[in-house]
């Protein structure tokens, strides 16, 4: 039996992955920005018949109240981007700070923080988000963003801690310390630039997770309230009418998946272009 033992996986060139990711994400960013200045229809207006099929007037039809689905889909892009960016920003702010503090802290404090982080990670993102949303009396887009940001921060903190500790044992840190650099300066000059590449790839992945988690929250009825057309809520509303208007349950899902795949490809492409050890493959 002739078999090659180790063969490199057939992998498309990294530029292709990066470009595919950039195009998918760029499309959503463009749509989201466009939705700020121009929409085909009034988003809450009942501009057509109920559950119309796709036509030249309503590109992907209307929902059960006669609202234009394409308009809602465009707003959905904007909301998904806001959620992704907001959640990652909050997660990064809390997570990177905690992670760096843990890496610098004394042994026992570091151990305690590390153990707590591991347990927080065992709490699932979605359950934490459900709790935080429940805690804020009225569900709003912000409560979902804050909830997801908090949930993501434990993952970011753990990664930052591990990466920062790896940098802290380097000779140039010892050199910086002996030459009298203060530790905020060490963080700014030596640690952050060194861990940034790996962190940014991770942020892209977290972005995808946040978008999917927000859609799940909205689907469960715990997301942004009605005027905000989140893809998750669109899917929940369309589920009941899937027999008469299947496109309403398909289009928001496709939009969601294309954004999530886009950021994952972007992360993959970034990692390949940042990490020289992967370049050889």
């Amino acid at each position: 039996m002739s078999t090659t033992i180790a063969s490199a996986p057939a992998r498309p060139p990294r530029s292709l992955i990066l470009w595919a990711g950039l195009i998918l994400v760029g499309l959503h960013v463009a749509t989201g920005l466009l939705s700020l200045v121009w929409l085909p229809y009034e988003p809450t207006g009942m501009v057509g018949m109920r559950l119309e099929g796709p036509s030249l007037v309503h590109w992907i039809g209307t929902d059960r109240l006669g609202r234009d689905l394409f308009t809602q889909l465009m707003i959905g892009s904007r909301i998904a981007l806001v959620v992704g960016i907001g959640a990652v920003a909050i997660g990064a702010a809390i997570g990177v700070t905690l992670g760096i503090l843990a890496a610098f802290a004394s042994k026992w404090l570091d151990d305690a923080l590390a153990a707590t982080l591991d347990i927080l990670i065992a709490f699932p993102t979605l359950l934490i988000a459900m709790l935080v949303v429940a805690a804020s009396d009225t569900a709003s887009l912000w409560s979902a963003i804050v909830a997801l940001g908090i949930a993501l921060s434990a993952i970011v903190a753990r990664l930052t801690r591990i990466l920062a500790k790896r940098v802290l044992v380097m000779d140039y840190i010892t050199a910086a310390r002996t030459s009298g650099s203060s530790w905020p300066k060490i963080v700014a000059i030596h640690i952050l630039p060194n861990i940034w590449p790996t962190l940014s790839v991770n942020f892209a992945l977290q972005f995808g997770l946040a978008v999917i988690a927000e859609a799940s929250l909205s689907y469960l009825g715990l997301g942004a309230p009605p005027p905000n057309a989140s893809w998750g809520r669109m899917l929940q509303e369309a589920q009941g009418t899937v027999y008469t208007a299947p496109l309403g349950a398909i289009a928001p899902g496709l939009a969601l998946v294309s954004l999530a795949i886009g950021v994952n490809l972007l992360a993959d492409g970034l990692r390949d272009s940042i990490d020289p050890t992967r370049r050889a493959r």
Partner: protein, 339 residues
């Protein structure tokens, strides 16, 4: 658990305790500590919820006396440390209290709901493993063929696709267009109505199995690629072992170590993914219990479901860690930071 500690030895020789046993003991202590921290986190999170839990007991326009009585009943008039001690004490005895809304025992209710969620999780998980193992190995071994690439491309969907959307699509196809299976629901008599209960489980389990299988596949493929590129496999081949023989005798054990820790994480997230899936298929499981409890501000139920789910997730992680040590003796001496 008895240590092999015979009288006559004043100090137990460290080497006489089998490393796997020492590890199990250490890991058990970590599990207990984790549970305690989880309880603290839960206590803090629940106290962050707005309003007094007692309000959930009352309607609008309750009098001062009624509010005071409700607070005494719930215990929210006590100082925080007293509340905390009572909270930990109750959890330790697995006394999860009674629901504010239905007045039923929370533990009993969780037990009833588990009859839906546990089978759902297990079927979905088994399906995911049955999909991921053969396809993941195939995708790695045949990565130079078109179907190997095709499998890994499709598996990328696993982390980009929301599980509830897959559920909606499967319902559209199998329940609405083809009319082969029910679109959701669970018989009132539960598993005593076995046929209906089992057919109701098919689509939800398939949904979980497909999504989890796809994300698991990526890890199986990566682990297999690592094994395929390893020196020990080449040595085994050079010593005359056939390719399948070398793969099974040397690759399986090595490759399964990283996969097992992922299996633990996937099993836990399968269990938690059931929250959303139960909504898609209107199944009366643990997830729908939590959702309803959050909407009704039914604190004992929220707390009970969250505690039991965290307990299960931590136990799954514990089991995965121990299993890893059984398979790979090199790990036994170490307690990982993630333990």
């Amino acid at each position: 658990m008895a240590l092999p500690f015979r009288p006559g030895y004043s100090v137990p020789d460290k080497a006489r305790i089998p490393p796997i046993l020492a590890y199990t003991i250490r890991r058990t202590l970590i599990l207990i500590a984790s549970l305690f921290i989880a309880a603290v986190v839960l206590f803090v999170l629940l106290r962050l919820l707005p309003g007094d839990p007692a309000n959930a007991l009352l309607g609008v326009g309750a009098t001062e006396q009624q509010i005071a009585a409700a607070r005494a009943q719930v215990g929210s008039d006590q100082p925080l440390y007293v509340q905390f001690a009572a909270f930990i004490g109750n959890l330790a005895r697995l006394d999860l209290g009674t629901s504010f809304v239905s007045r039923a025992s929370v533990l009993t209710e969780i037990g009833n709901r588990m009859a839906v969620t546990l089978p759902l999780t297990l079927f979905g998980f088994v399906l995911a493993v049955l999909l991921a193992l053969p396809l993941g190995i195939l995708a790695a071994v045949r990565s130079d063929k078109w179907y190997g690439t095709a499998i890994s491309v499709v598996s990328q969907l696993g982390i980009a696709i929301p599980v509830f959307w897959v559920g909606i699509l499967l319902v559209t196809l199998f329940a609405i267009n083809l009319r082969w299976l029910p679109s959701g629901g669970f018989p009132l008599r539960g598993w005593r109505n076995f046929g209906e209960a089992a057919t109701g489980m098919i689509l939800p389990s398939l949904t979980i199995g497909l999504v989890m299988g796809a994300s698991l596949l990526r890890y199986v493929r990566a682990a297999t690629l690592d094994v395929l590129g390893s020196d020990y496999l080449r040595t085994a081949r050079a010593l005359g072992a056939s390719f399948p023989e070398a793969l099974v005798r040397h690759g399986l054990r090595n490759g399964s170590v990283p996969v097992i820790s992922i299996l633990g994480i996937e099993l836990a997230s399968t269990f938690l993914g059931a929250v959303v899936i139960e909504r898609v298929f209107s199944l009366p499981g643990l997830g729908s219990m939590l959702l309803l409890a959050i909407q009704q501000r039914d604190y004992p139920n929220v707390q009970g479901v969250l505690f039991v789910s965290t307990l299960l997730v931590l136990i799954i992680g514990f089991a995965a860690d121990i299993a890893q040590r059984f398979i790979d003796p090199r790990l036994r001496g170490r307690v990982s930071a993630a333990a």
